[in-house]
Structure formats: structure tokens, C-alpha cells
Symmetry: C2
Subunit: 331 residues, 2 copies
DNA sequence: CTGAAAGCGCTTACAG
DNA sequence: CTGAAAGCGCTTACAG
């Protein structure tokens, strides 16, 4: 099937391409009669404009880029639903990229964005990322960037996240109230600001809290936690600062024959839909993932539409909520 | 920061844009010396080619479109990881769209693909979709389409899915062996071929199996299942044909005070990472989601590269696996 | 091996 | 209100 172009449509109508273009866009310089004729013919010939021609000419792509550390995580996948919802409304397209927790990959992805492929970028940093120079080059090119969840530490940047300090404080306080004496904070990364903030929050409640770095896949995390739980003075309260560390903790307890919550109590930062169905049900700090995605996208579009100024003032702290369940029940 | 174009790069080098273009692509018509000079300068000026100019000229976008019913589902999100992995390797970009189970939305998304925005399409059909005319127009335009998981019923099309008939048979047989007498099959849609096939497989093992349509969100599903479980002659074995129906079944049992597996046994088609941590652990039919995504993308790129012929011969049936757990334990 | 020129399919000042 | 023309930034026959 031959692709029909604006020129062909114009020829069919015995009008100039310029006029047809304006008519299709609903320009008010065009008479109602002409506009209708054009619309009719466009429909009849099933004309679909070439987006790349238009992008090239208008120097805007109607596309945003989303960079995530991983997709198979209930928080990030919900977040995408939020982003997609507002992008769809705005008539924007969404390109997805995964950094797989690699700084190198993340930098390569972001570098490509300098090409003008996207009008704006939504990013949640990889666990390895220790600086955001690669993102500053986007700002230099006037491509707005909004950080969400795993935001950076800079202040002059748009950041949409929960109040991680507060959430950490709540989680640790909750464990203390449940009677825990030796808390352990499980961390997936040494670089992420939000993890540092969660830990800082924990420390405010429990200054003596220990911290354990658990990198790698689920199995490696499990082994690392197992090790910590096999120690003589093992922790009796665990805070899993990301979802996968929550799974890994349950597995480690099972494999060591430790009972939750009598031997160890557990709270996890998690949006897993099955938290209440686990054995025992898992106490979670839930982040409003869909809303975070929606808000981040909304702020980004504001930046795109208004030409990117003072986006840092659009930063939002969205509350998370601690949901107490069986895994932290008192003796 | 001013964006540097091919023309500027050429001027800097006192070469023609054509020569520079060829040098950057590593064309063998260009001398080694020139090539190196060009590469050097490109690096120094941090030249990034405009993808849309190149797309317009070459009539290819280096982009694929992925259409999913939903993102927040462990099967689909894993699938995306597989797709992204092979797209990344191939230097392709991935546009994501959600149909939210709506035929209307799906059709609108696919219609846009006629514009040449993507070189190929990967789709898992919405629950409402009863025909695939919208997708045939892509084939007419020589845009290859690969269906995955929720495939259509046509044979002359590339389809990557598990053996759903077989999986249904295995699930129902497993429940019968566990002692169930009254089986109920929970379905999220009346249109999806794969669901029909799962049911057909169940019927082969258990001709008398009943079927219940549960549409809507998790809460609505829960209510519908609750109703069925509150009947006098209630089922004692449930097959949840998609993941969310598995959650809903657990909730319904909890709210009715029914014990799994003694009152009701449950098996779910699911890739949830927490299946073994549930109370009780959930017997699942697991689909190799990552591999399905990878395979679908690989087949699609074959179609894109070779110009789309006989893609239907690339269809694959990938085995799923029944993992027996506590929810179907014998009395 | 290098360059001049045309053109991908749009949009948008500018003229009338 | 409509049209002619230039141009977005590339690539690619074609010439030399």
C-alpha cells in the first residue's frame, strides 16, 4: 500500500501543501469550507502525517524518554502507568530505557538524548550513579529533566519523591515499638541519595542501627542477608530499603528456619500487591507509585511547554505510608 | 548550547557534508585518513546526529512499538525486560503504549503506527479485542507485527506464546489429582484466544469445569469470585487464568473464611515473584516471560531486517511450567 | 576518494 | 484566505 503524503493529499484537492497543512492543524487563517474539504479528503485517503518530517521541521519530537533501573519491579511498573497516562493525554509518546543499575549504560542512554530524540526526560537513577554530569548536558541543551524516586542530591533540579527521611524514621520507630533491639538496614547501593536518606531517617529513631550493603541479584542478596542472620548477635529487626531485599529477607529467614515475626521482624519499602497475602503478611512502606509517575510527568510537561525555567520549584515530596502487618507483630 | 549539525562539522573540517556523512557511517569509499579526521572532530565537537533527519531520509526509524494491556503485571513487565534487552543490542528504541484492555485505545495506538513512527510492532492484545483488522493495515504497509502471549487466532501471523491448551490441561489435571470435584475456571475476557485455549485445555481434563467471567479491577474481580464461593455447591478447585485473578481469589477466600487448600485449592497462571512466600504458597503455571519477550523481539527484528516475509513461520510455542505448591496440597 | 545536488515530508515566514 | 519558496538535518545516487 502506497503511503499517502501531504503533497499527494494537496494534489488531490488542488490546493497547495501549505494550505492543507494549515487546514489540518485547524489554523484560523483557513476558511471553514476549505478546512472541511481537507479533513474529508484526509479521512477518505486515510492520511497519516509523517511524525519525523514534522519533528525535523518543528524541532520538537512529541516524545519523552524514561530511564529506569529496572522494569520488573512493582514500584517502577506502576510508575510507568502514571507516566503513560499523562503522556497519552498530552499526545506524547514514551520511549523506555533500562539502565540495569549501570552508570555506564545510563550515561550512554542519556547521551543519545542530546540528539533531540526526546523533548524531555524522566529518570530514576541507577544504583551505581555517583554523579549527574551526564544529565547536566541535557539541561545545557534545554531539554528538561525531572528526577523521580531515585533522585539526585542537587537542589536546583526538579525532584519528585517521597519523604524518605521521614519514612525511614517511621520504619525504624515502628520496629523499636514492636520491641526490636538490634536493627539492621539493608541497602542496595552506596550511591543513591534516597537510600542514604532512608538510613538517616532510621538513625534518627535508632542511632545504633547497622547497615548492610546487598548488591547483585536476588540470590546474592539472599546469601548476604543469610550471613548476617546467622551471626551470633543477629539482628531482630530488619528494614529492607527496596522491594527485592524484602523478598530476599523472607527467603533467608525460611532457609535458616527463623520465624517472622517472633525471631526477626521485617519492614520493607515495597509496593508489591501481595504484601498482605504473604506468610506472614509483610509490613510495608508504600509509595504512591502511580501518583509519583503522574506528578513527574506533569511537571515535565510544564517544563516542556513553558520552556524549562525554574523547574526545581516544581519539586514535590509525596507522602508514603507505613502499613503495619504481621511481619512486625509484637510477641 | 548550540546544537552542532553535520553541516557545521563538515565546515569545520573543510569537507562536504556528504563525505562527512559517509565517513561517520564507516563507508569504505572514504580514505582511512579522512575517516579518522572526521571521527576525531565529531568527538571533539560532541556531534550527535539528529535521528529524525536520518529517519526521514532513510525511511526507517530504528524504533519499535510495544502495545500492552497493562504494565503493572509481573508477566508483562518481565516481558518488556526481554524486549528491551534485544532492542538495545540492535540499537533500536522502544516506544511503549498501554491499551488498558480497551479495543478502542488499542486501535488508536495501532493507527498511529501507520505514520511510519515505528519499524515494527510487538503486541499483546487487549481483553476487549475481538478482531485484528487494525493490525492488518500495518501488514499492508509492510510494517511487521509479532503477537506475543495474548495472540490472535490467525495462522498466517507471527505468534510467540506458551502452549496454553497444554497448560490448561496440566492445571486442571493437577487439581483433579489433588482431589477436587468441582472446578471453576476464572476468565478475564470473553475474547482472548489464549484464555479460550486455556479453558479448552482444562475441559480436556475436566469436561464438567465451570467458567466465570470476571472483568473490572481487582476489587470487582474479588466480589465476583466471592459470590461464586458463597454458593451452596461452591467449587473446591479454582483455576485463575491470569495473575490478578489469583490475588482476587486469595482475597475472596480470606473474606469468606475459607481455608486454602483444605476448603478450596487454587492454581494461578502467574509470574509473581512472591508465589512461594504467600500464605499458603501458591501453585502457579509460570510462563517464561523474559524469554517470550526476547523471542518476540528477535523474530520481529528478523522481519524488519529481511523485509517481512513468512514471519508466521517464525511462530514459537514456548513451554510453561506448573509449579505445585501449598495451595493445591492434598488433604 | 570527494563533492554537488536532490530530496525525504513536513511547516512557516512572507507575499499577494 | 491561499500559495510559492525556503529549509529542518540528514543520505545517496551520480559525476568527476
Amino acid at each position: 500500500m502506497r503511503t499517502i503524503t501531504l503533497k499527494m493529499l494537496a494534489a488531490e484537492l488542488r490546493l497547495s501543501p501549505g494550505t492543507v497543512s494549515k487546514a489540518l492543524k485547524g489554523s484560523h487563517e483557513i476558511s471553514e469550507a476549505t478546512r472541511e474539504k481537507v479533513m474529508d479528503m484526509a479521512r477518505r485517503l486515510d492520511y497519516v502525517p509523517n511524525p519525523y518530517a514534522s519533528s525535523l521541521r518543528r524541532r520538537t519530537s512529541k516524545t519523552i524518554g524514561v530511564v529506569l533501573p529496572a522494569m520488573a519491579d512493582s514500584f517502577f511498573s506502576m510508575t510507568i502507568e502514571g507516566i503513560e497516562a499523562v503522556a497519552g493525554d498530552k499526545g506524547y509518546h514514551v520511549l523506555i530505557y533500562l539502565s540495569h543499575e549501570s552508570y555506564y549504560k545510563e550515561a550512554a542512554i542519556v547521551k543519545d538524548f542530546q540528539s533531540g530524540r526526546v523533548d524531555g526526560v524522566l529518570i530514576s537513577l541507577s544504583g551505581e550513579t555517583w554523579n549527574t554530569d551526564h544529565l547536566h548536558t541535557l539541561t545545557d541543551k534545554n531539554i528538561p529533566v525531572v528526577y523521580f524516586d531515585r533522585v539526585c542530591e542537587e537542589n536546583d533540579v526538579a525532584r519528585i519523591a517521597t519523604d524518605d527521611m521521614e519514612a525511614g524514621f517511621a520504619a525504624a520507630s515502628h520496629l523499636l515499638e514492636a520491641g526490636c533491639k538490634r536493627l539492621l538496614f539493608l541497602s542496595p547501593s552506596d550511591n543513591l541519595a534516597i537510600i542514604k536518606r532512608r538510613l538517616a531517617g532510621c538513625r534518627k529513631a535508632a542511632p545504633g542501627i547497622a547497615s548492610l550493603l546487598c548488591i547483585g541479584d536476588l540470590h546474592q542478596q539472599h546469601l548476604r542477608i543469610r550471613e548476617a542472620l546467622a551471626m551470633p548477635d543477629r539482628p531482630d529487626g530488619i528494614i529492607a530499603s527496596v522491594e527485592s531485599l524484602g523478598y530476599a529477607t523472607y527467603q533467608a529467614c525460611t532457609s535458616l528456619g527463623l520465624e517472622i515475626p517472633s525471631d526477626v521482624k521485617v519492614v520493607a519499602f515495597s509496593n508489591m500487591p501481595t504484601a498482605s497475602l504473604l506468610h506472614p503478611s509483610l509490613t510495608t512502606v508504600e509509595q504512591p507509585a502511580f501518583e509519583i509517575g503522574k506528578t513527574a510527568a506533569t511537571v515535565l510537561f510544564k517544563g516542556i511547554e513553558k520552556g524549562y525555567n525554574h523547574l526545581s520549584e516544581e519539586s514535590r515530596m509525596i507522602p508514603s505510608v507505613l502499613v503495619p502487618r504481621g511481619s512486625t507483630a509484637k510477641a
